[in-house]
């Protein structure tokens, strides 16, 4: 565990503005996301939708080709576990200086997450100002690319926000559960 071939003086500082080292990006859907699909399908008691009045509520999927089992109030797809739609929840994570929050919005369609957006929501005004500046800076200098547009095998990062992300998705799972 001795010295690096590149000596101390070789460490470079570079404000990331050049085009060098840009990766070719391939599409890949990374975010199958936190087990939103799966888990025990519970045949819901009510179909999705808020305006229940116009919906054929609780009227057993009409021409469901007799799969015998679904008894009564089967929603459109009898084994769908989560409601379709956009869901937003806030998760929190503990950083060395205190608790921070992150907003997560998932779009669910037939138990599949089709879109994810996140929003940093620092509670501390100083942190907020700071994060905005940082976000601005990173967009101008280092560009954050969406993971689902990247071809990566793994992701390495702060387990701080990841914890908040997981918490928010868990809340969405229980909220969207049929």
């Amino acid at each position: 565990m001795k010295d690096l071939e590149a000596g101390p003086a070789d460490t470079r500082t570079r404000s990331i503005t050049g085009k060098r080292m840009l990766h070719a990006l391939a599409a890949a859907s990374l975010l199958g996301v936190a087990g939103c699909a799966g888990t025990a399908p519970s045949p819901g008691s009510e179909p999705a939708g808020e305006g229940a009045s116009s919906a054929p509520a609780s009227s057993a999927a009409p021409e469901a080709p007799a799969s015998a089992e679904p008894t009564e109030a089967a929603p459109a797809a009898s084994d769908q576990a989560y409601e379709d739609g956009d869901f937003t929840q806030v998760g929190s994570y503990v950083s060395p200086g205190g608790t921070e929050e992150i907003g997560v919005t998932l779009t669910l369609e037939k138990d599949v997450v089709t879109a994810v957006t996140t929003e940093p929501m620092p509670s501390n005004p100083t942190a907020k100002l700071y994060q905005e500046r940082f976000s601005g800076g990173i967009q101008e200098e280092i560009v954050g690319k969406k993971l689902d547009e990247l071809k990566v095998d793994k992701v390495a990062g702060s387990s701080l926000t990841s914890g908040g992300f997981a918490e928010a998705t868990d809340r969405i799972k229980s909220e969207a559960k049929l």
């Binding site: 690096l4 460490t11 503005t17 060395p96 996140t118 800076g137 954050g144 993971l147 793994k154 390495a156």
Partner: protein, 289 residues
């Protein structure tokens, strides 16, 4: 590596995923669980029955397993290189500065972290001797060492291609390199770059609070006219996960040159003003406009 099996579980408060070319045998899975349990029983500060809890209560002598010697050596080295900033005595240091059990907020003298280790602790080989109650915190390298121990267990069981991923602290072995995204410090749906991970370890550390807490962000240094900016995220690639884990933290506290004098590693540092610094030998890409 064609993944033949994934072993996914929660342990020490984090999610683990072990991908192997050949699915893990049940007895290997059980051995991994036992290994992690033993490590946790040793070092967890949150378990009243742990070995470090006993040190915190009354001090005394603690004989660690053989791997404790490597951990102690690493901490001693980094304690020296960071001028005492990085220490397994974080709890004691805070107490010294007034964050004590009574919340006195009265420093017991000027901050003197360098003395604290000598006064509080001998760590010779795998034996720790605490002079009085001492809160031993190996959080900056312990998870990495545990990943190494799990990797060793896999190797001993005959596995030659695997990735152990303890939520961002990773150890890779095998013929095929992996492309790993570097998570945006504030947005887990984005990456700021990628690195190739092949036959070594990769660890990340990030903190928004540590960066703004010192009040230095966007302050102009009058002597140079440049913006004073602080580190907000780091990644380190090294031969073993314990070292990578510890250096990812050390890069918040010391210059890469200082650490490079005694460790072989690659790194990325991202600063509060949005610029990045990286080792010349880094095999990867940082995204640019």
């Amino acid at each position: 590596m064609a993944v033949g099996g994934s072993f996914i579980f929660e342990a020490i408060g984090t999610r683990w995923q072990i991908d192997t070319a050949v699915a893990l045998e049940p007895e290997v899975r059980a051995a991994i669980a036992g290994l992690i349990e033993d490590y946790d029983a040793l070092y967890s500060r949150f378990r009243p029955d742990s070995a470090v809890a006993a040190l915190a209560a009354g001090g005394g002598r603690l004989a660690l397993p053989a791997h404790g010697a490597a951990l102690g050596r690493l901490y001693q080295k980094l304690y020296r290189l960071t001028n005492g900033s990085m220490s397994p005595l974080v709890g004691s240091v805070l107490e010294h500065q007034g964050y004590d059990a009574l919340y006195s907020f009265t420093p017991k003298g000027p901050p003197a972290p360098a003395r604290v280790w000598d006064e509080a602790l001998d760590w010779e080989g795998p034996v720790v001797t605490a002079h009085g109650p001492v809160t031993l915190d190996v959080g900056a390298a312990g998870k990495g060492q545990l990943v190494d121990l799990v990797g060793g267990l896999l190797t001993d069981a005959g596995h030659t291609e695997f990735l152990v991923d303890a939520s961002g602290d990773m150890l890779h072995t095998g013929a095929t390199a992996l492309t790993v995204g570097l998570e945006h410090p504030y947005d887990p749906a984005r990456a700021i770059g990628t690195v190739q991970l092949h036959g070594r370890a990769l660890c990340a550390s990030a903190s928004n609070r540590r960066a703004w807490g010192d009040g230095l962000h966007h302050v102009i240094d009058a002597r140079t006219g440049t913006s004073v900016s602080t580190v907000v995220a780091t990644w380190v690639l090294a031969a073993d996960t314990m070292t990578a884990d510890a250096l990812a933290t050390a890069l918040f506290l010391a210059e890469p040159e200082v650490l490079a004098a005694e460790f072989a590693f690659d790194f990325v540092q991202v600063f509060s003003d949005g610029h990045a610094r990286f080792s010349p030998t880094l095999n990867g890409a940082l995204f640019t406009p």
